[in-house]
Symmetry: C2
């Protein structure tokens, strides 16, 4: 049985998680679907939970990450800052994933019980 590393990064601002795996996935889904309700449906998350996560994100950063334009070409999308935070978080996740191929990680995996 192969071992499997789970590596997680969260950035806190006070008690709030400003960005973490769940919020990053939500940002990505909002960018793809153009709405919070479609994004939460795609993630199997309640609308209320998605809305709360957006609220926390929008108060945690210098500017909101998600904006809703009403009237005309209405829709919900990421702001420039939202796209930047998402990109930097994914870059950090890529660095994290690389650690699971590092020396310490490989030594640990080799010591797990065989199946």
């Amino acid at each position: 049985m192969a071992g499997r590393f789970k590596l997680k990064a969260q950035l806190y601002r006070g008690e709030d998680v400003a960005i973490g795996p769940g919020k990053a996935d939500l940002l990505e889904a909002i960018a793809e679907t153009g709405s919070i309700s479609a994004a939460t449906r795609a993630l199997g998350m309640s609308y209320r939970r998605g809305w709360l996560l957006v609220e926390v994100m929008n108060r945690s950063w210098k500017e909101p990450l998600v904006e809703t334009v009403v009237g005309g070409r209405s829709g919900t999308s990421l702001t420039d800052l939202g796209r930047q935070v998402l990109a930097d978080y994914r870059a950090l996740e890529t660095e994290l994933a690389a650690l699971s191929n590092g020396a310490a990680a490989k030594r640990l995996e080799a010591l797990l019980a065989e199946d």
Copy 2:
């Protein structure tokens, strides 16, 4: 208000977490105190929970990480493998912590709302 990164590594074997932050702290406390009950007291954890974590660890690796010698100089201690797993896990945590000083992490921190 400063941002604070929380970076976590868990190594799964099937459904079990073979090693993670809580189990590593428990191993360290057992090494320091020489008993599961003293270790769990020091960590504010129930004895039952500590015992269960040890049981999961002892079945997840090629050999047990924790052993109890009964009679004579009785006591609970880490095996050679237990010390090695703890050392490798702490090395992995040090690599993780270094990521919070990396370029992506620093960019993210700089974008958090001021207080």
